[in-house]
């Protein structure tokens, strides 16, 4: 069980970690990083799976199904888009230079 204060500690530490990581991101990576963090909260799909897995009534099943569908879309779409953007940041070694 994650009780109240333990949850607060985890919330706080995770928030600091997220904040500090982003604080060092160069402007050049802002757009891919927004997309990358968008991918990360795609983890919501596992929560939706749990909700669907416990759904009993058709209403609950429908909501759970929608949740998994949307969550999977978040994760998959976020991944593809981020990967495509980052793929463009090639080092210049193999390019001709001025």
């Amino acid at each position: 069980m994650i009780d109240g204060f333990l949850a607060l500690y985890i919330f706080m530490l995770a928030a600091f970690t997220g904040y500090e990581i982003i604080a060092r991101v160069p402007v050049i990576l802002h757009t891919p990083l927004m997309s990358g963090s968008n991918f990360v909260h795609g983890i919501v799909v596992i929560g939706a799976m749990v909700a669907l897995g416990h759904a009993q009534t058709p209403l609950e099943q429908a909501i759970g199904f929608a949740g998994v569908l949307l969550g999977a879309g978040n994760a998959a779409g976020g991944y593809v888009v981020t990967e495509r953007m980052l793929d463009m940041f090639k080092a210049s070694k193999n390019k001709e230079r001025g």
Partner: protein, 484 residues
């Protein structure tokens, strides 16, 4: 096996959380960014696989169907969309995440209320999974997560529609903010009432109340986003990205899932900072973005003495062909014209002649932070030819020609000189200090801020009118002509 499997699943979640953090960390440096998303992706796979193994889950066929459908649709759309449409795709996927978080909250609250209604006097709200009583803190966070997630869902979809060009106008009407306030208050009251009812021993919580609560949140997200102009959308998307993160963290608490809590909270904090950075770089407050009517005040007619002096492509090409240093400043117009490939072709031709070429990027050029970087990277510009504002501003005085392509606000000296201007105080690329400035744009159109630009009337500035792509193409052609 009874204790091994749960242990393994917990370990998988731990690994996933670790990989997310390491992945985000790696994404914060250009050298490691590409592997960063890979690491995070592995974390996601591990977490999903572990969840499939969770004992006691039903509806596994439905689950698999939903995952396959959601994944393939998103994968397909994400693969084929054009690079310039990335902002709206991020909005779309973000909205889906918000919707998923809201769905979790809705499902858990409905199931919990139904169970409690059926077992009067035992629990305020019980967790659907275990039929154990939900802690009051978990119940409250379930509501909060549902609310934030639903706002993010509806808001992101509107943002998507606007950026996709399906909804060009800003929907503004009198009393809009008051209406939003009323909806917010109604949702708060309803939420508080269901909570109080739930915690009153033996009282029944009407399930409909929870659904109405969710609908109110959706409505608020819709109405909040409708009046915001398309150009402000990136800040709004970033904000909703943070919202979704928080919603995921809160629903993670409800489900007692540490991976969700940590991933959601990391994104919540990171997204909040990113939103602030974006708003600050545009020299606006977040409140102004959300509630302000930007452009209305700043549009007051200013006229600037002098005239814009046009130049022919041939003359411009010669000027740069014989320059020692050239700086290229792209802006939103380059994105509109999709001119980045041509621009790089032109730059390469200059480099081949021995000209020192650099690209100067303003942090908020375009419509997303790093917008220009992504476009230039797409065209194949090596990132060490790309200079930040702070690095290149001191170099302009020794630069022979600055070529401005579709940039306007980010090179507008008014930001330094006119305190009444809406962009006053925004740091700009000081191109006016270069020896010569050539500006490519289609006509006398203003930029995002809707104000006149004194640079275009400066003595050392020449205008090369035309669509960005066509104009640069003619520069390339004329440059070839110079050689032979």
């Amino acid at each position: 096996m009874g204790t091994l499997l749960p242990g393994l699943i917990k370990a998988s979640y731990f690994l996933a959380a670790l990989l997310f953090i390491v992945g985000l960390k790696r994404m914060s440096s250009p050298r490691t960014a590409r592997t960063g998303i890979l690491w995070a992706g592995v974390g996601m796979l591990v977490a999903v696989a572990a969840t499939f193994m969770l004992p006691g889950l039903h509806n596994r066929a439905l689950m698999l169907t939903a995952i396959v459908l959601g994944t393939s649709a998103a994968w397909w759309s994400g693969r084929r969309v054009a690079m310039t449409a990335m902002p709206q795709m991020v909005a779309l996927y973000n909205g889906m995440g918000g919707g998923a978080a809201a769905a979790i909250g809705l499902a858990e609250l409905i199931a919990a209320a139904a169970w409690s209604n059926g077992h009067p006097g035992q629990c305020a709200f019980a967790a659907a999974s275990t039929a154990a009583c939900l802690a009051p803190s978990a119940t409250v966070l379930a509501y909060v997560g549902l609310f934030i997630g639903a706002v993010s869902f509806a808001g992101s979809l509107i943002a998507f529609a606007k950026l996709q060009g399906w909804m060009d106008r800003r929907f503004v009407f009198a009393g809009q903010r008051a209406l939003n306030g009323v909806i917010l208050l109604a949702a708060l009251a309803l939420g508080a009432w269901t909570l109080a009812t739930g915690f009153a021993a033996g009282a029944q919580v009407p399930l409909l109340a929870i659904v109405v609560f969710a609908v109110l949140a959706l409505l608020l997200g819709l109405l909040m986003t409708l009046p915001i102009g398309g150009a402000d959308m990136p800040v709004v998307i970033s904000l909703y990205n943070a919202f979704t993160g928080l919603a995921v963290a809160f629903e993670g608490y409800v489900l007692q899932n540490e991976a969700m809590i940590i991933a959601g909270m990391v994104v919540g904090a990171a997204g909040t900072l990113l939103t602030q950075l974006m708003a600050r770089a545009m020299n606006r407050s977040l409140g102004n973005v959300l509630f302000g009517s930007f452009g209305a005040a700043g549009g007051a007619a200013q006229t600037i003495a002098g005239a814009q002096k046009p130049i022919e492509a041939a003359d411009a090409a010669v000027m740069m062909a014989y320059a020692e240093r050239v700086a290229i400043v792209p802006g939103y117009g380059m994105a509109v014209a999709q001119a980045q490939h041509k621009v790089w072709e032109f730059a390469q031709a200059l480099i081949a002649r021995g000209v020192k070429v650099r690209f100067a990027i303003h942090p908020v050029a375009g419509r997303m932070p790093g917008h220009m970087n992504v476009l230039l990277a797409e065209a194949g510009v090596p990132y060490d030819l790309i200079a930040d504002m702070d690095d290149i501003n001191p170099e302009f005085p020794t630069t022979d020609v600055v070529l401005v392509i579709g940039a306007n606000d980010v090179v507008n000296p008014v930001a330094r000189t006119d305190p009444s201007s809406p962009i006053y105080g925004m740091p700009i690329l000081d191109v006016a200090s270069a020896k010569n400035v050539i500006v490519i744009k289609r006509g006398k159109g203003t930029g995002f801020a809707g104000i006149e630009n004194a640079l275009f009337y400066a003595d050392n500035a020449r205008m090369l009118y035309g669509d960005g792509q066509a104009a640069v193409a003619s520069l390339v052609a004329e440059l070839k002509a110079v050689d032979g």
